[in-house]
């Protein structure tokens, strides 16, 4: 196995779980590795994790404390050049996903993202066509940057080692990071660590048995369920798009909740779809949901065609009312 650089960044001064997963993968692959960390508290975080690393580098300081292309790209470029390793493993976080393709361009490197597996022989696996086709590939080009999909590897235990060499990096940027926003209240957001994904489909906003639409009750049932189970809340594209078409909508659902072809592909152990037809563009977002169940009035919905483990042909309003009594 050729030499690897494990390139990580901190979050709130610590290494996040995705960083430890990448470190775990590098250790599993064997061979030597260097460690490089950037961000707030990078030096301390690097020293806590540098056990086993041949060389260790860090970039820290106020400009590198925030996630921003210009500063992150400059830091990553310096760290990769300092190590000189031909293979670079980094977690596929939004911060690195923004910065590292540009760094690859600067270094004349190849890059592959959303990597779910790397073998000691240099075989890499990733998904194509929005999780509909899997492929294994190899490249001769070096350096080669691999962004490892969070949730796909076993995290390493921290092993302290030598203090890192601090690199001085300077960079001009016209961008300032002003802060963060959560467009919806905390209890309704996607929770990456939740064991359950609950998906609300467009059926919740359609006419029910009595010929009327019951959006308020639907919202109440869904939010009550999310609060009680602390699950992740997702939606199908059609439900999100209804807002643009002037139809009744569940007010707390935004494009951030969208799961599928043009939304997210979250990783949860279980998923429960309600009032959702299970069409392929939505279900591709369920690729990493292990156990799947669906509640739908249509016995011929997409879920029945091998996309869910159990499909309950029933009225989701009635099932949810009963379910909430039990939770």
């Amino acid at each position: 196995m050729e030499k690897i650089l494990v390139l990580l960044h901190t979050e709130d001064g610590q290494l996040p779980p995705s960083a430890l997963e990448t470190l775990g993968l590098a250790r599993e692959l064997g061979g030597g590795f260097d460690l490089a960390v950037l961000g707030a508290g990078a030096a301390a975080a690097a020293q806590h994790a540098s056990g086993g690393a041949a060389k260790c580098f860090a970039v820290e300081g106020e400009p590198f404390a925030v996630s921003r292309y210009a500063t992150d790209a400059a830091a990553c470029e310096a760290l990769i050049r300092a190590s000189g390793a031909p293979l670079i493993l980094a977690p596929d976080t939004m911060r690195f996903h923004r910065a590292l393709p540009g760094v690859a361009e600067r270094l004349g490197a190849a890059i592959d993202t959303h990597v779910v597996s790397v073998s000691p022989g240099g075989e890499v696996q990733r998904w194509y066509y929005r999780q509909r086709i899997e492929a294994a590939l190899r490249r001769g080009q070096r350096p080669w940057i691999l962004l490892v999909e969070p949730g796909s590897q076993t995290p390493a235990a921290l092993q302290a080692g030598s203090a890192p060499e601090l690199l001085n990096v300077s960079c001009n940027t016209r961008t300032t990071v002003e802060g963060f926003s959560t467009p919806i209240a905390g209890e309704q957001t996607i929770r990456p660590d939740a064991p359950l994904l609950f998906v609300a489909g467009a059926g919740w906003t359609k006419k029910q048995k009595d010929g009327a639409v019951h959006v308020d009750e639907a919202a109440e049932l869904i939010l009550d369920f999310v609060r009680r189970t602390q699950c992740s809340l997702g939606s199908s594209k059609s439900l999100v798009d209804l807002s643009g078409e002037g139809e009744a909508v569940l007010p707390f659902l935004t494009h951030l909740h969208q799961v599928g072809q043009t939304g997210s592909s979250p990783r949860h152990r279980k998923g429960l779809a309600t009032c959702c037809h299970g069409e392929e563009p939505h279900v591709v977002g369920w690729r990493f949901i292990q156990e799947r169940r669906a509640v739908n009035l249509d016995p011929n919905c997409g879920w029945v065609r091998g996309k869910a483990d159990v499909v309950y042909v029933a009225d989701a309003f009635e099932v949810m009312r009963e379910l909430l009594k039990l939770l």
Binding site: S67, Y69, A70, M94, R95, H97, R98, A99, P101, G102, A104, E105, R106, I111, H114, Y128, Y129, R132, I133, E134, A135, A136, R138, R139, R174, T175, T176, V177, E178, G179, F180, S181, T182, I190, T229, L256, Q261, T262, E280, P281, E291, R292, V295, P299, G306, A308, D309, V310, Y312, V313, A314, D315, E318, V319, R321, E322, L323, K325, L326, L327
Partner: protein, 266 residues
Amino acid sequence: MPYQIIVCGGLAPDPLQTLEPVFDPAKPSLKNELMLPAVFDPWAAHALYEAGRLAKEHPGTLVRVVSLAPKAKLQQVMMTVAQKLPFELAALDGPGGGFTDSGAVAAALAAAIAAMPDLDRSRLLLFGGWESATRGAGAVMQRVAERLGITEQFLAVDELSVEADGALRIKERIEGGRHQISRCSGPPAMLAWATGSLPEPPNHPQTGMANMRVIMPALQKARPVALEPGIEYLRTALPAAVRQTRVVKDVPAAEIAREIAEWIRQ
């Protein structure tokens, strides 16, 4: 103040189509790839709609689409996309599938943009989707921007507003269902869009006809592009994920709820 907006976007198979890989180590493809109905790549389409909004708000703004795809397919797709909003097209005639290298695609797109004779880079906003629905690498836009010397880059953008002093206020998606809010002093900048906040604009046949008058000559002039392979594929396959679905019918809601509650607690 007017902008020069360039939207990079390719084609993707219609999401409702069944995809089946055909393996070839040098050039994997999809079964009947040329016959599959195509759409403009969904996230790039959102970028185009946002470009249209910005052009309306800033008169004099020029929107151009740069697309690398098989010419005949691009023509079909443009018949629909052209009805959405006014834009010009720079077409590159080349492979459009997912099994191409992001670096080679970026090089072709950047060269096409750099060759535009009247390009004012100081007013340039480079738009695109943050990932394609084919390769899904999310790497092309950053590489194109680097080649054009643009170092203010934003990924998975959901919102862009222009402040009174011309600064760009940008919301990018980050982990945990949150947005990072940044302020960039102005163009040039690259924004790789996520879903944004605009619905698909309705078709407007008059706009379509006006657009096609410039799009058809652009398609005829489309430069053939050959992409360097760069990748050795070892296999491509459909995931073995078909499940044995148990269908529960004619069971009272209370019983279904009990079963689901038990499953959730496990």
